[in-house]
Symmetry: C3
Subunit: 272 residues, 3 copies
């Protein structure tokens, strides 16, 4: 029987973020973190810090149309190329490739191009698209219509989430103040890649191990009674044999309000 | 990044009932708590005390056919009127209107009558009826048949839950002793309003913000494999854009055995 | 209102494994633990120790084709007979009969034969088969095909799980090292009983109280978006009126890494 490790000091009480099954001398991993829409690499700041404190090597590439890139007229292929180029130019190997939200679609396409560099893929409340689908196809009709309207009214083909949607569906466990703070930092998202239908035939031939992390209050894709939409098991089950890791939190704010808990879940998902 | 608040002293260990995202200087809310069937206002005693300790102003109106009211031959309109009259006579405004269980149907009808006084509606494992439905319509056939039988055999058109149903489906996480204690305090419920089909056309035009609180062991409506019945997402998804807050517990006993935890979930659901 | 019990000393912080509703002077139960496939009675060692420490009397019968039994060509009836003989020869009465995984099918058949000795049945992420079904029928087609292939390639009609399946679906929350350790201890499973279609007509006439314990990361039966397979509510809902108890963990490793938590869930499910 495993016993906990009383000599380990944590600022928070022990059981909140760690299981008794946790291995306190974890294997150091090389982790590449891919953010989703309405975000840039700063989304990962706190989680990356926690993972580094646990002894892992962490890379956080920015991708086309995001961060300092002034060009918002990007394609999904340009985004994928950004990440592939980053991994190849840094000569990263044996990586755990983590995609959050829309980052799941990027993980899928990157894995097609450089499968030999990837030890495991981790989808954290991330899209796992079927061959020929777009991310927008995985939203219930009301959400898809909202995105189409927002896109039409945009001068530069970007989408900014309405605050009520962000507050209720992306930051539902946060305080109003923190949700507002995050909202005002969230950049507009290039609309094109969300609506691009992706050829994923090769992805579905890959044998790279994969995991799915699900936070139970994440309703960024509003759950439906018939299970026709949603993160888990709707999209996770497309991964075939996968490891399931569950945590507590919402789609956006938990990355900032409880990064240690998310970092542990990513480690549990990413280890061999 | 948010840090926890080490200067705050709690009698229980910190992480059980509070998230790291919790704001320890919460906005004071005006909260109106509407109980469900087989209950009276004493259902809320411990939760209301916790909410008041957190700085909120809490009202717990009784409604027709319940509490001291000797007349059990009530209609849903009479129940709604009790709550509307209470709110109007106390001149309550900007309220967070919380309905538990059958209280959800009351929140729906009260919101139709005095929408301008309601800042947010919170449904806690509560019915969200479709236009033209009754609460009984939302029970799987076996439960509905049981209610019909119980109603037929009642001398005064009230329904008393059989103890095994109460113990297994309403107080499943409690000890036998506490479940028995709660059961013997639970009043018989006027049957009529449970079977009344409600006109909810106006409710579905309202734009009042709304939240859904779901305790994960609540099986008062027994869950079905096909998702055709149940609290979340079956009924919650009818709310359109809503905030989702999840907690641990069952339908009835957690209000008494862990009121602090429920109070925090209600606050998280009720704040802006 | 219940208060926690500050005089009780636990090596772990209080709230991790125990609810505030827990009764610290629990009724002593007589508990019989029935393991599942790819296991023997040692599966229960740590959980049984925790239950005994709580004051319960615990029996852990081995059954045909498992443990020291050299004969792997067993039938479901032989397995059931092992358990029935054990209970009768020890003259156990008023028992809480707990089945884990495949052990659920054994509980179903034992209950048919000696219903008067059983106070309550507890299914812990266990099969609840319909009349005429086999355990294999409850696996999604991909899993069933895998079992058929493994069976065909076996010299002695046993099935050994491939390591990736064990690691990802049975020990998903464990470290790699512990998952490997458990895997190498896991015996091959006689294939026959997994594919036997069981006559369960009598089971569905029994009125013995029953409970279902579900650990939320258990994906030994991979969950499907349409709810057509899985532990809860897919199989639990066949029990009719049942008590639902939820915990955290996976199918196999949590029994070893967090036995206290599982023991509490079993007690909560097993008490009256």
């Amino acid at each position: 029987m495993f016993v906990p490790y009383p000599h380990v000091h944590y600022p928070h009480p022990w059981p909140y973020f760690v299981r008794s099954s946790y291995d306190f001398q974890p294997t150091p991993l090389t982790i590449v973190l891919i953010h989703g829409s309405w975000a840039d690499t700063s989304f990962w700041d706190e989680i990356a810090a926690e993972l580094r404190q646990l002894g892992h090597t962490v890379y956080v590439p920015e991708y086309a149309g995001h961060g300092a890139d002034p060009n918002k007229a990007v394609t999904h292929a340009m985004i994928t190329k950004s990440v592939v180029d980053y991994i190849v130019s840094h000569n990263l190997r044996n990586i755990v490739l983590v995609g959050h939200s829309f980052g799941g679609t990027i993980v899928q396409k990157v894995a097609e191009q450089i499968p030999d560099r990837i030890r495991r893929m981790v989808f954290w409340n991330a899209f796992v698209l079927k061959d020929g689908e777009s991310a927008a196809d995985e939203f219930p009709p009301a959400g898809r219509d909202m995105f189409l309207e927002l896109r039409k009214s945009s001068p530069d083909d970007t989408i900014k989430l309405p605050f009520p949607v962000f507050r209720e569906n992306f930051a539902n466990t946060a305080s109003f103040e923190f949700a507002s703070h995050m909202y005002h930092k969230a950049p507009a998202e290039p609309a094109g890649p969300l609506f691009e239908k992706l050829d994923l035939k090769k992805f579905y031939t890959l044998s790279i191990p994969r995991s799915y992390v699900n936070l139970t209050e994440d309703i960024a894709i509003p759950p439906q009674a018939d299970g026709a939409y949603g993160w888990h098991p709707h999209m996770s089950s497309r991964l075939g044999l996968f490891r399931y890791i569950q945590g507590v939190g919402d789609h956006f704010s938990t990355a900032k309000t409880d990064p240690r808990s998310v970092a542990y879940r990513i480690y549990e998902a990413g280890r061999d």
